[in-house]
């Protein structure tokens, strides 16, 4: 009969060995998260750390307990990146033995954000450089923005037909529709929704596909909104292919992807507004300013018409007076007379000789006479 050793004794022994070797020691590691399981009710997170190199891969299990769980939340809010499978992080860990399950594990004590932010930013810059190099229509501007075929398209003066790309039942969808459809000016909108997921691995591809479904002559703008609830992971909007589709898309795109700290590449290719609500207000305000301009023009028009009519009336009045004053009848009424000789009106006294027959025409009578003398009018 062999001597039986209890599993728990072995576990205790391994635990002691590991404690002797690792107690009080901490390590900084950089590894990919190959598995993440959050226990939200307890604020725990089980993690698989994986390192890949040419010799194959190494995976060690890890955990983040409630006392350090804030590190994960801080990581997510600071980097706008969801703490999930597939990302790479740098963190401080201690090594211990998980007796109940019988494996060594790494406990996360601290997470380095700078590394994560740096990685993401690097990735983003790389994508942007590639876009600028490969898409001749994209120009990088000194202020950090980009000029693209899409954001150079003229925005319609009135925006009413909207293709909305958003996640179903999302805050972004609700906020945008609320601002536009219940605007206080009573402007009408026709919004056609193209629902898709807007985060996660397949999001960029799905958004590209939705864009391609949108018919050019049916819409004034395309609106892409996201946000409200979750403030993490907008990696989809830094995707090369999606950015390329957006940059050359033939209808102006307005984005409200809902993050204040960061601008995604799709934002740079389109016209960026911060939030879904801001996109909605922008559209309503644009329509309002069109209407204001129109009313102003109408006012100006009627004012010009009024001015013209008044001016013409006054001038006509003057003409009337002048014509009336110069009417021969008016002149005769004042005591002037017309002198005729041989049926010709005399304007030059030299035409009249002594003994000529004259007719003096007054208002109501003609006097016939013969000239018997001429002399100078000395006044």
């Amino acid at each position: 009969m062999p001597v039986i050793t209890k599993l728990s004794d072995i576990a205790t022994e391994i635990d002691e060995l590991i404690q002797n070797k690792y107690a009080g020691k901490t390590f900084w590691i950089t590894a990919e998260l190959s598995g993440v399981r959050k226990i939200l009710t307890k604020s725990w997170c089980y993690i698989d750390f994986t390192e890949r190199n040419k010799n194959g891969e190494t995976t060690i299990k890890g955990v983040c307990w409630a006392r350090n769980y804030y590190n994960i939340e801080l990581f997510e809010s600071t980097t706008n990146t969801e703490f999930k499978t597939g990302i790479e992080i740098t963190c401080k860990v201690s090594v211990s033995f998980y007796k109940a399950k019988g494996y060594p594990q790494l406990e996360v004590l601290e997470i380095d954000f700078a590394h994560a932010v740096g990685q993401l930013e690097l990735e983003k810059q790389k994508t942007l450089k590639r876009l600028i190099a490969e898409e001749k229509t994209i120009k990088y501007l000194p202020d950090g923005r980009c000029r693209t075929a899409n954001n150079s398209l003229e925005l319609p003066k009135v925006i009413q037909r909207i293709a909305l790309i958003t996640a179903s039942n999302s805050d972004g969808q609700r906020d945008f529709k609320n601002v536009t459809l219940t605007n206080k000016f009573g402007y009408a909108f026709s919004i056609q929704e193209y629902l898709t997921v807007v985060q996660g691995n397949s999001a960029s591809k799905l958004i590209s596909e939705k864009l391609k479904l949108i018919k050019q002559d049916k819409f004034d703008v395309v609106v892409i909104v996201r946000g409200g609830g979750s403030d993490t992971d907008f990696a989809a909007f830094n995707d090369y292919e999606l950015a390329k589709v957006a940059a050359t898309f033939p209808i102006p795109i307005l984005t409200g992807i809902g993050h204040d700290r960061n601008t995604s590449i799709v934002d740079l290719m389109a016209r960026q507004l911060r939030t879904p609500t801001e996109v909605g207000s922008f559209i309503v305000d644009r329509n309002k300013s069109f209407e204001d301009n129109l009313l102003q023009l109408q006012d100006n028009f009627f004012q010009a018409v009024d001015d013209l009519i008044v001016d013409r009336k006054n001038t006509l009045q003057q003409f009337k007076q002048t014509v009336k004053n110069l009417h021969p009848d008016s002149i005769l009424k004042k005591g002037f007379a017309i002198i005729k000789s041989n049926n010709k009106i005399i304007t030059n006294p030299k035409d009249i000789k002594v003994n000529s027959e004259l007719q003096t025409i007054l208002k109501s009578e003609i006097i016939h006479s013969t000239v018997n003398k001429k002399s100078k009018n000395e006044k």
Binding site: V305, I309, R312, T315, F319, T322, V323, H327, P328, I345
Partner: protein, 61 residues
Amino acid sequence: MKSNLTFDKAFNELKKLVDQIEDDKIQIDTLTEKVEEANELINFCETKLRTIETATNKLRK
């Protein structure tokens, strides 16, 4: 009065006539004729103006 006469045409014609009537050198023979022509144009212009005014007032509502 010609049916295709516009306000502007009539108004410009009238302006010319008034200038001629005001000119000292006008022959008194032609004065009566010109004055009558001017009066006719004034009537035409006033009627046209009233029509335009009524039409724009309707637009304003």
